[in-house]
Symmetry: none
Subunit: 245 residues, 2 copies
Amino acid sequence: MLENIRIVLVNTSHPGNVGGVARAMKNMGLSDLCLVAPNDFPSEAAVVRASGATDLLDNARIVPELTDAVADCHLVIGASARGRHIPWPVIDPREMAAIVSEVQPQLRVAIVFGREDRGLTNEELHCCHQHVHIPSVEGFSSLNLAAAVQVIAYELRMMALSGAAVEKPRWGTPWDIDLADSGEIERMFQHLESTLVDIEFLNPDNPRQLMPRLRRLLLRAVPDKVEVNVLRGILTAVNKKVGGG
Amino acid sequence: MLENIRIVLVNTSHPGNVGGVARAMKNMGLSDLCLVAPNDFPSEAAVVRASGATDLLDNARIVPELTDAVADCHLVIGASARGRHIPWPVIDPREMAAIVSEVQPQLRVAIVFGREDRGLTNEELHCCHQHVHIPSVEGFSSLNLAAAVQVIAYELRMMALSGAAVEKPRWGTPWDIDLADSGEIERMFQHLESTLVDIEFLNPDNPRQLMPRLRRLLLRAVPDKVEVNVLRGILTAVNKKVGGG
């Protein structure tokens, strides 16, 4: 789905922002960048901020008008501040990603971002099927251009990955060790309890809620086999010190 | 919920990025910024990129160590690339927002971002309950610092606006005891480490992965104050036995 999405920047003033957009796009798996009449581009400032995404800058298409940028697109979404003169369908970035995910793979989507200071004109916004608004704070609502593209690209990537949600390992990298089974856990708790008696921390005649509290703590963490062995190793080291004391 | 969230930046190199972070935070309704040993700050470059969010820069707290920045926090989440030496619980930004939304309003959350070039050290990551990873493209995975904060702040704002937070507090009540804060947790780990050296289970000249494994185990469980006191009581009982042995 991400290959069919084009990011269009209209009349960008600061080339550094174009570089920041290229980096944000490449981080999120987007590659199709189109610039409508950019100011001061190509530029070293763009290359610096791109931080390695120079392939996107090199391949960026430069056109004179927004209509040129979106001519071959089937769904055009414009980034917009709130409160335009004529009400228009406004969606948030997550709703936008859901709509884009339903577009057929042979069709092309454009997401259009306006000038740093003034955004898109009403005329440009009226070229768009939908307007997407990032829900910023009223009174301080204008995001940096690259930051706005980052949020939109992030939502698109989250949507693209959700199709393959099965893949994602819950623990970042696959957990390195098998979980301990209940038998191992129970033997660990028995060892803990007898050691606590040995060091006179647990009074068997008045145990209070000590073991339940320790069980609750450690069971919440769902220990793996190595963790259980480490804990038992510590208990054995204590046993030796106390026995030999 | 957003008032209780602190953004912590560790050893930022480029002050412009601090300004970009301040802008991203203010756009999304966050205001608590803490800088750990920043390079070249305060700075005009930060003010320029902040684009009006100078109140956040003026109010930013500057501290020498990460532990100072998170001492009064109850849930600490570190931004991380994938694939660390020891696997640690890793969540995506949306899962992170869901977890943060369940934190009780009187508790404080820190979200920690590392250096532009190298992120957080393993030692810093091992101070965190959870690691959050923005699902970027493998091979081009490093986001600009302000862009990363923008994505995280956006997810937090989307969650705050959804109003879903009210229903089911997983943290605190109906839990019987307040959660331990990071300062209490760190002192507990220091006590644990010195005790493990005393009982000759931990060799300071060859510590291997012992403390990271124990940190990972206990931080997963998110201990409350009584649990931390129980663990420290056990350590003190061991200290007495070993000292008197």
